[in-house]
């Protein structure tokens, strides 16, 4: 069983990425009760934003230590621009419409963004290689950590801490909480709810962009479809953790990632379960877990912190 620490690390890394993307789902849902299905594609445009900076803005052969912060900046700029644009032109006109209208809009936007990148980004019809950080993998005990994963290891906790500080301590963050509790009352108290909604979209996109850079570094490639399945998983993570709760999004991501890694690694060792243990079954087990959690805690893992709207 010396495999366990490595599989836990595999799962936690994958889960951190789910968590970074899940934050966007959960914040937007918490404030406007919209499931932004285009969020996976916002994640994807972040990846392409970072790639564009590396391929077309920086001179060839720039050291990754210089390039990485600029790529991160490029990813965040592109992703937030797309997200804010989507909010302004696709979702805001539907603010008063029945809830299904923006949902369908989001699915349409998701396909449109995929196809736009497919059609217009140079060479995006295939996977495009993403620049890698040099240096071998690191061995800690019998656990191997890839160089590309170091970024995720550092970025995910810092992002969470910054977000928690922002929501709890700043004036805008408190405005977000107020809007989430009751948009009408918040407006009466002088909170500019339109601005708060835009900020929620932008923040979610920024975290997705960080996740996208981590994805590129981890898997060495980006492609126009990378956001679809990952977005679905991140959304699942958000529901698992308790949608609307930003800590829940991160926890849900980690639980989902670890569940996938462990089910791939160990279920086939259970006698009689060989055929249910491969990676192709990992999604099934992840959703079994989701159903079990929702059966006993319909509000999600951290849902108890969330009060019903008065």
């Amino acid at each position: 069983m010396n495999e366990l620490p490595q599989q836990l690390v595999n799962g936690l890394l994958l889960g951190s990425m789910y968590g970074l993307v899940a934050i966007g789902y959960t914040m937007v849902y918490g404030i406007v009760q919209l499931i932004n299905f285009a969020h996976g594609e916002i994640f994807m445009t972040g990846g392409f934003g970072a790639l564009t900076v590396y391929l077309y803005v920086l001179p060839n052969g720039t050291s990754m230590w210089v390039a990485l912060p600029l790529m991160l900046l490029g990813a965040i700029i592109v992703a937030t621009t797309v997200a804010v644009g989507a909010e302004r032109f696709a979702y805001r006109p539907l603010r008063g419409a029945p809830r299904l209208a923006p949902l369908i809009t989001a699915i349409g936007l998701s396909l449109a963004l995929q196809q736009a990148v497919w059609a217009w980004y140079p060479d995006a019809k295939e996977s495009i290689n993403f620049p890698q950080i040099d240096g071998g993998p690191f061995e800690v005990g019998n656990v191997t950590v890839q160089t590309g994963d170091i970024f995720l290891l550092i970025a995910a906790p810092i992002s969470m801490a910054v977000l928690a500080y922002f929501v709890l301590k700043t004036r805008t963050g408190r405005g977000m909480q107020a809007t989430a509790q009751d948009p009408d009352t918040a407006k009466l108290m002088g909170v500019n709810t339109d601005r708060i909604i835009v900020i929620a979209f932008a923040l979610g996109a920024a975290f997705a962009a960080i996740g996208a850079v981590a994805y590129g570094l981890k898997y060495g490639q980006v492609q126009f479809r990378m956001g679809f399945i990952l977005g679905l998983k991140a959304f699942t993570a958000a529901v698992l953790g308790g949608i609307g709760n930003i800590y829940g999004a991160m926890l849900g991501g980690l639980v989902l990632g670890v569940a996938e890694a462990l089910s791939t690694a160990y279920i086939s060792d259970i006698p009689g379960m060989e055929q249910f243990g491969s990676q192709s079954w990992a999604n099934v087990w992840a959703f079994v877990l989701l159903i079990l959690v929702l059966l006993f805690r319909p509000q999600g893992l951290l849902g108890e912190r969330v009060a019903d709207r008065a």
Binding site: N2, E3, Q7, N10, L13, T26, M27, Y29, G30, I31, Q33, I35, F37, L103, I107, S110, L111, W118, K125, E126, S127, N129, Q132, P137, T144, Q146, V167, L168, Q177, A178, Q181, Y215, Y219, G220, Q221, Q223, R225, M226, L232, F235, V239, I243, G244, N245, I246, Y247, E260, A261, L262, A265, S278, Q279, S280, A282, P298, G303, V306, A307, D308, R309
Partner: protein
């Protein structure tokens, strides 16, 4: 609550979420298809359309576009040389996105177009399964340049009781019944790998290939130290990579395609496993090397036929392909697609000549019969079909990654 509670939600919305999740999953299969006609100019007389079905978008589009371009080249050549008097050929290419549902829709629209007398494609064996019956009911001939799943031509029980299921289905590619064992012999005898970890993607092609490889490898005395099935929709194979590393395997055989094979090989090697990665014709693509990175040196693939660059018969094809200036390379199946189209053209020629220079009213059925009997020297060698509709050319080649390109190391066939 403020200060402790974070963002706040109404619980009953969870029902809406579940519904939405289902809706999201549905969109996976709901993408539309792109039509892309690119035939040559009509020069009077009758026009015969040859349908092309391949993934023109998505992960496998490199292979699909190679097929489409090569089919286009065959049609242009036939029209230029006036191979069939009074007949102008034209291709109509539809995109199946490597999905069986899209493939079946395309098959239906080819059948509905009465000018279509033959279809070349698809790339994926799983897509072919959804198209065969549609074509067979319409007696419309289908020639695949790339399907390697044995069951497509020899029936589900092909290992014990070969039965041809569809009279209208032909292929110019060698089947996995030969490819898998051929790879096993090379890995065991030539590469001297005795402990292999077998992975597949559960698709018709991948699972079939992994199965025939495993049977032969065990028969030779090799040991399968582990098996795994991956989810082709993800790019995270870290859990699988850790299993491979701890299994003590010295080789991994993968039944599946390069979009997954590249990242899979990279992640297994990054995890620290000292293995040679091997796979079938669907990883024989420059894209595999690009995605697998520098660790791909020495990796092995097998592909149908002899390397097209080394065949005297293919020189003209390669020169013409370059002269046409197609944006995409002809890739692994270009030569086979050209030969598939040419088999249909030869059949049409035979049918027209037997009918005093005109197309008969039951042209589709006649063309299907004629394809069974074609025999000509094509780009990939002699082209003709056996009693199951499989190619009589059983040649295979092993390739290895050297200096960042697939280099042929051994050609031959599996003799049992």
């Amino acid at each position: 609550m403020p200060g402790k509670g974070l963002l706040i939600v109404r619980q009953r919305s969870l029902i809406a979420i579940t519904a939405a999740l289902a809706a999201g999953a549905l969109t996976l299969t709901a993408c539309g298809s792109r039509d892309d006609d690119s035939g040559s100019d009509s020069g009077g007389g009758t026009t015969v359309v040859i349908g092309v079905d391949a993934p023109l978008t998505g992960d496998l589009s490199a292979l699909g576009l190679g097929i489409k371009n090569s089919a286009d080249l065959a049609v242009k050549t036939a029209n230029k040389d006036k191979v069939v008097d009074g007949i102008t050929f034209k291709i109509e290419a539809l995109d199946d996105q490597a999905q069986p549902s899209a493939g079946q829709q395309n098959a239906t629209s080819f059948v509905a177009n009465k000018d279509v007398l033959g279809v070349v494609g698809p790339l994926n064996s799983s897509v072919a399964e959804s198209m065969q019956k549609v074509f067979d009911d319409a007696k419309l001939v289908e020639v695949s340049p790339a399907n390697t799943g044995p069951a497509l031509s020899q029936g589900a029980d092909w290992q014990t009781n070969k039965v041809r299921t569809y009279k209208s289905y032909f292929r110019t590619a060698t089947t996995d019944a030969i490819q898998g064992p051929f790879a096993a012999q090379y890995v065991f005898n030539d590469a001297k790998k005795k402990n292999v970890f077998v992975i597949d993607d559960k698709k018709t092609y991948g699972a079939g290939l992994a199965g025939t490889f495993t049977d032969e490898f065990k028969k030779l005395g090799g040991k399968v130290v582990g098996t795994e099935h991956i989810d082709p929709d993800t790019k995270d194979f870290s859990a699988v990579a850790t299993k491979v590393k701890n299994s003590g395997a010295d080789a991994v055989y993968y039944g599946g395609e390069y979009p997954q094979a590249g990242p899979l090989a990279k992640q297994i090697k990054d995890a620290g496993a000292k293995i040679t990665f091997a796979g079938g014709d669907a990883i024989y693509s420059p894209e595999y090397i690009k995605l697998a990175g520098s660790g791909s040196k020495g990796d092995i693939s097998t592909s149908v036929g002899a390397p097209i660059e080394e065949l005297a018969s293919a020189k003209e094809f390669i020169a013409n392909y370059e002269a046409e200036g197609y944006k995409e390379a002809y890739e692994a199946y270009g030569g086979y697609a050209y030969d598939s189209v040419w088999a249909i053209i030869e059949a049409v020629k035979k049918v027209v000549e037997d009918n005093d220079g005109e197309l008969p009213s039951d042209a589709r059925a006649k063309v299907t019969e004629a394809v069974q009997n074609v025999s000509f020297d094509g780009v990939t060698g002699k082209v003709s079909f056996d009693e199951y509709g499989d190619t009589t050319n059983k040649q295979l080649t092993v390739y290895s990654v050297e200096n960042g390109v697939w280099t042929p190391v051994k050609s031959g066939t599996y003799t049992g």
